[in-house]
């Protein structure tokens, strides 16, 4: 940066801060100790007048590094957003006066807290640089949509309506996907009584008529590379001709495959023509087209039994452990195919828990009952051929007895298996870019971490289903429809609409160099000092978003558009060469090192709390708002994600005399709440090595604790700090105070 660094410290006296702590003392520390060139106190810093005071210093006095010592960084963000400068926040409201009692006794330690947060803010901002976009994006905004079923077509139409171009790549020779094989769909409009037209033909017509939408049939994506705003995709036709096109964002709508009913021989599948799956029944119904439905070998059907959850919601080997969500209403719809044509046909839906999701689900169920469909709560154990048709043996769950019934046709509700591509956790990815192109891969990503979207469980593509269901682990690539989770047509349409908007947002953000969720708008991005890099590849492996590739010399290659700014790479790097303009080993390390550590016999321990800014830090802020008190010995530093915690911070803190360290991240595992999906998990693995450090320093293991904190842990988070204070009282002060 050409300009010279000039640090300004602004201390607020409002919100009772001035009454509770000596701000003049804090100002002296900022100037004398921390070398802040401009230091000012203000009665009401977030007021127009206070903000103007700062802006004037920026404009006229060349101040470009600003430490605001006032409220939490989560408060007054709009007032304190200054352009083209580096900003840090010292939290003396939520972090100090609101969590400490207003007593004479407490005033000394309260003042010490406020002084430390001043030191931390000034030292943090001193090592920051105002972030600027990298300019990597090519500013493309058109969407690539992989899969031309209902989800894909909906996404394309929605994007086109919003003014963005879309290209659909469809593997088969026609648009429509699985829904094209349906005779009718479950109704989406009131009065929800009868099956409706699937709407596929109308969607195809709308796609064909839209000049903003391009369709490639009989084509697959054989290579995808780049990042949001500059994706490049090879689209290869059946004949092998390949064209490379560029896109701003991608939506994967690869749909599902019906579960293989051959795995259900006990239910009579594969032995004759009287046992079919739901999809096979659709074909029979479509062939009849409103007339008499016959079995595939042309026999009359006078009775039908629908067996729900066939090979689903089952622990048995090879079965699906989950519920596919649509099959109950689908069976009701299919029973109506028979009843509407001839009410004398016996139709029985055999269920254990009937689920009819969606606004009209319950009405549709009633309509089915009204049409005379019989609903039996029972579990089918065996379907056998009785010469004339089938005998279904089942346990009647209401009458609590084993019984059986005869049927001319049995329909199995077998459920959805995601077309989620290659499971990259199973297929090794050690030789980036050199993998054989597998027929199974959908996107063929040229990413270091693997060629398809990561999966979460049961083979469905991962998305942050607890808080941000659209967010996948590949920035700018969204999954929608049954590849993300089992869903029906209505849900898939909504899902695809949302995904289209998210994709547009990703492309727009990329053009401005701004991060996507959850640090939306962040202009900083990780860069690394090549000379120091040992090519250990830890950053490329650990990045939860697969943002880092490798260049020809096998150095990490950061793709800014794919990066979510979590800092996991920075935490992973053993030689600490990765940093952001406004977040680095030094911005946090400087805060840790500049806390005043009293001598051992002062009996004033220091507890370092590294708190995730997404959940733990807000929880502590809210605790403060609720007047929950915690130890005056705590010094809390917000971090982007627990994943960004570098072991050096812990080692430095222990060496400089902190008595306890608490790391607060989000829940990990299958039900993760980590905003960066894997960050918290990775950090906790990393922290298992802290024990070695503690041992080498002959320190007690209780001095470092890692916790999973939810944003609702308003009581628990402060309690954990107090617990640590109690532990220190028990085991004694750290001997490392120099």
């Amino acid at each position: 940066m050409a300009e010279e660094k000039k640090v300004g410290t602004y201390i607020c006296k409002g919100c009772g801060i001035g009454d509770r702590v000596n701000t003049a003392g804090m100002a002296t520390i900022a100037t004398r100790e921390c070398k802040s060139q401009v230091t000012k106190e203000h009665d009401f810093l977030c007021s127009a007048e206070g903000v103007k005071m700062i802006q004037d210093d920026i404009d006229n006095d060349g101040v470009n590094h600003i430490a605001i010592v006032a409220c939490s960084r989560r408060a007054k963000t709009e007032a304190f957003s200054f352009e083209n400068v580096a900003i840090s926040r010292g939290n003396v409201r939520e972090g100090v006066i609101w969590v400490r009692p207003d007593t004479d006794e407490a005033s000394e330690t309260t003042q010490e807290m406020a002084e430390d947060y001043t030191r931390m803010a000034v030292h943090e901002v001193s090592v920051m640089t105002p972030p600027t976009p990298s300019g990597q994006s090519e500013g493309r905004k058109n969407l690539l949509i992989v899969g031309g079923g209902i989800s894909g077509m909906t996404a394309a139409i929605e994007a086109a309506r919003a003014g963005y171009e879309a290209t659909i790549v469809e593997k088969t020779g026609a648009l429509g996907g699985s829904a094209a094989n349906l005779y009718r769909r479950v109704p989406e409009s009131s009065p929800f009584k009868d099956p409706e037209d699937s709407g596929v033909a109308a969607l195809i017509a709308a796609v064909d008529a839209d000049s903003k939408i391009t369709v490639h049939l009989n084509s697959t994506v054989t290579k995808t590379s780049g990042a949001p705003g500059r994706f490049s995709a090879d689209i290869t036709t059946e004949s092998g001709a390949t064209a490379t096109e560029n896109f701003g964002a991608i939506i994967q709508t690869s749909g599902f495959t019906e579960y293989d009913a051959n795995q259900l021989p006990h239910l009579g599948y594969g032995k004759g023509k009287n046992v079919v799956t739901q999809m096979e029944l659709e074909a029979l119904a479509a062939a009849a087209d409103g007339g008499v439905i016959k079995t595939a070998d042309g026999k009359d059907i006078n009775s039908v039994v629908f067996i729900q959850c066939a090979g689903q919601r089952s622990d048995e080997e090879g079965h699906l452990p989950y519920c596919s969500g649509h099959c109950c209403t689908t069976s009701i719809k299919q029973a109506m195919y028979f009843k509407d044509q001839n009410p004398a046909i016996d139709t029985t839906v055999m269920f254990t828990d009937l689920r009819t999701p969606g606004a009209g689900g319950e009405d549709f169920y009633r309509s089915g009952q009204d049409k005379g469909i019989n609903f039996t709560k029972g579990v089918a154990s065996e379907v056998t051929d009785n010469g004339n048709g089938c005998t279904v043996k089942f346990r009647d769950m209401i009458l609590d007895e084993d019984t059986s019934t005869d049927a001319d046709l049995v329909v199995l509700a077998t459920g959805m298996v995601a077309n989620a591509g290659v499971d990259i956790d199973v297929v090794g990815q050690d030789d980036p870019g050199k993998w054989e192109v597998s027929v199974d891969s959908i996107l063929n990503l040229d990413y270091r971490q693997g060629k398809d979207m990561p999966q979460l469980r049961h083979g469905f593509n991962d998305s942050h289903f607890i808080c941000f269901p659209y967010e996948t682990r590949r920035t700018g690539i969204y999954t929608a429809g049954p590849t993300r989770r089992p869903m029906d047509i209505g849900q898939a349409i909504e899902d695809a609409t949302g995904a289209a908007l998210k994709a547009i947002q990703a492309a727009e953000n990329a053009e401005l160099g701004r991060a996507a969720h959850p640090r939306s708008g962040d202009l900083s991005y990780p860069s690394f000092r090549k000379e120091g890099c040992t090519q250990c590849k830890r950053c490329t492996v650990e990045c939860p978003f697969g943002a880092i590739d490798e260049d020809e010399e096998r150095y990490p290659q950061f793709n800014e558009g794919r990066c979510r700014r979590c800092g996991t790479c920075m935490g992973a790097c053993p030689v600490r060469v990765i940093s952001f303009d406004n977040y680095s080993i030094d911005t946090v390390g400087n805060q840790i090192k500049n806390v005043d550590i009293p001598e051992e016999f002062d009996e004033k321990p220091r507890i370092l709390v590294l708190a995730c800014e997404n959940d733990a830090y807000p929880a502590l802020d809210m605790a403060a708002m609720n007047g929950v008190e915690y130890s005056a010995f705590a010094r809390i530093i917000p971090i982007r994600c627990l994943g960004s915690t570098n072991l050096i911070w812990v080692t430095d803190a222990l060496n400089s005399g902190y008595d306890g360290i608490i790391l607060m991240g989000c829940q990990k595992g299958e039900n993760y709440q980590c905003h960066f999906v894997k960050g918290s998990e990775i950090a906790q693995d990393r922290m298992s090595k802290v024990d070695d450090t503690l041992q080498s320093l002959s320190l007690e293991p209780e001095r470092v604790e890692t916790y999973e904190i939810a944003i609702t842990d308003i009581e628990r988070a402060p309690q954990l700090i107090n617990d640590m204070a109690a532990t220190i009282e028990k085991i004694g002060m750290s001997p490392f105070k120099f």
Partner: protein, 206 residues
């Protein structure tokens, strides 16, 4: 009446549900039950029934004709209307219970000696005789419904209440010999006779 039973079996061989729909009061509702069990859980007598309402509905759908019609269950209903108030599907359960009981009696399948049924007959006979319920006669009939010894025991038990009612003129011993009637008893009997004829003509069609 067992002729009617044979006729019904013949007619609805395949579907007891259709039989119920056609012949039992509010029977067309049975198919709308979604087996949630709220009725059985709400019925103050639920735990004492062989088959609480939800189960009866399932049995009807499963074609268990014999078991349903000869069951004591629907006779247990006290018309408290708890189930109707709570059924999320709006089934008139109480009415269906009485409908089933009535249908079972008509077919001659109701359990012999069914207490509720016996009392209902006594009540009906008492009421139709003069067009008004004769409380004294009804009470005594009820006491002696199950024999002389039990009748005496019950009467002794209720002695005090009876005496107080006499003293306060809430009951007159003279009622035992005749009692009052409505103005036009003949007319009432004619109406009832006609109604019975219509019913029987209906039943003959089967």
């Amino acid at each position: 009446m067992s002729d009617m039973n044979t006729a019904m079996v013949e007619k609805y061989r395949n579907s007891f549900l259709s039989e119920v729909e056609a012949n039992v009061e509010e029977g067309e509702w049975v198919k709308m039950c979604m087996q949630c069990g709220v009725c059985s859980g709400s019925c103050p007598f639920g735990p004492y029934w062989d088959h609480p309402p939800q189960e009866l509905f399932m049995m009807i759908r499963a074609g268990k004709r014999e078991a349903v019609l000869s069951s004591e269950s629907m006779w247990m209903c006290t018309s408290c209307y708890n189930c109707i108030a709570r059924c999320p599907r709006g089934l008139p359960i109480t009415h269906i219970m009485h409908g089933l009981a009535h249908y079972a009696k008509r077919l001659g399948l109701a359990p012999k000696n069914q207490q509720t049924m016996k009392f209902a007959s006594i009540f009906w006979d008492n009421l139709t005789k003069k067009g008004r319920v004769n409380e004294l006669q009804l009470g005594l009939k009820l006491y002696f419904m199950n024999g002389f010894v039990e009748g005496i025991k019950t009467a002794l038990c209720m002695k005090e209440m009876g005496m107080s009612m006499l003293m306060t003129k809430r009951m007159s011993p003279m009622e035992y010999f005749g009692g009052h009637s409505i103005k036009d008893t003949k007319g009432l009997h004619a109406i009832l006779k006609k109604a019975r004829e219509i019913e029987e003509a209906k039943a003959k069609q089967f």
